[in-house]
Symmetry: C2
DNA sequence: GTCTATACCTGGATAGAC
DNA sequence: GTCTATCCAGGTATAGAC
């Protein structure tokens, strides 16, 4: 609950998602935060400690978010999930999974474990939502719910990536298409 | 058409797709190729020169490949396009676009330009294929062809990324879903 | 065209003062 | 908890011999 610690995590999260894990340095955080890099090492001795903290932080926020949606209709929950990726888009940031997955093999074992757990949890939640929604006649699709969840998660993740390259309306187009489940 | 030059490009391509652009070094290529890093600088003075060459090489291969498909039925062309991503999957490599797009903003201007051109060309070709196929009654979808192309390209790209993290059958599942257009 | 040698820099990390 | 100072490794890049 330390304020500085939280700030470091927040800045590192932005840097990972805008530049990538290997392309940012403690100096980048120092500049923004107005402290020396030694201060950052005090909180996170190694860069991978910081990486793990960023992933854990994202995982926590995700759990809190879906818990806050629990009472909402399935359709609304789904809309929230799809559009929550848009916030990151405005700043041209990709999501954490999109930023870290390409270099997965180069990450520390701890980062790999936490990232996999996060990915699993997202898919499990989304699969459940789609299944429940279909049972209630809200969603309409023929494939297995898990397959649908994979496709949706993939499309959203990659739409943010392609958006950086194409610099057009990819994200919006894909979102609109997905929303008509 | 220099053999060493071609080899360097091939190795760099693998390294970018397995580790990422910022996580590989000239030393990695030296090791595989059995030469010193100075030799690589002879062909590619700067790392971004090498990066551009890798992108151009991929763009060329893509153009050659789709040209070789020109006489095939739309359906077959589409199947080839979807399954061509699978080759890269076997080695746990992602596609070049998936590897480079997250760190797009950190790349040299030349790399950015070439990468955007490649992305544009893929979307243009895929959009045309989908449109022509639908006109002939082979494909069935209701959204705009370009939207469909965005979704398909996104799903394929991200399926390789998620595959690295989830280490399961994401790629296969998504491919099967996409193939039923 | 490839080598040795080396310059230069950045980045991650630590020791010890305050 | 933050600082200064510093170390070390690795990475990009170049000069000049062969």
């Amino acid at each position: 609950m330390n304020a500085t610690r939280e700030e470091i995590i927040r800045i590192a999260d932005e840097l990972i998602r805008s530049k990538g894990y290997h392309a940012f340095s403690y100096a980048d955080i120092s500049k923004v935060l107005g402290v020396k890099n030694a201060a950052i090492h005090y909180y996170f001795p190694s860069k991978s400690d910081l990486g793990v903290a960023v992933i854990d932080n994202t995982a926590e926020k995700f759990q809190q978010t879906i818990r806050s949606w629990e009472q909402l209709p399935y359709e609304t929950q789904f809309q929230h999930f799809v559009t929550m990726h848009q916030k990151t888009k405005k700043n041209e940031w990709v999501c954490l999974m999109g930023a870290l997955s390409p270099t997965y093999d180069t990450l520390s074992e701890n980062m790999q474990l936490q990232l996999k757990e996060l990915a699993d949890n997202i898919i499990i939640w989304l699969t459940g939502l789609l299944e429940n929604g279909r049972a209630k006649g809200i969603f309409h699709f023929t494939e297995e719910a898990k397959a649908k969840a994979y496709c949706i998660q993939s499309s959203l993740l990659a739409s943010l990536l392609l958006n950086k390259v194409l610099k057009n309306d990819v994200y919006q187009v894909i979102q609109n298409t997905i929303l008509t489940v």
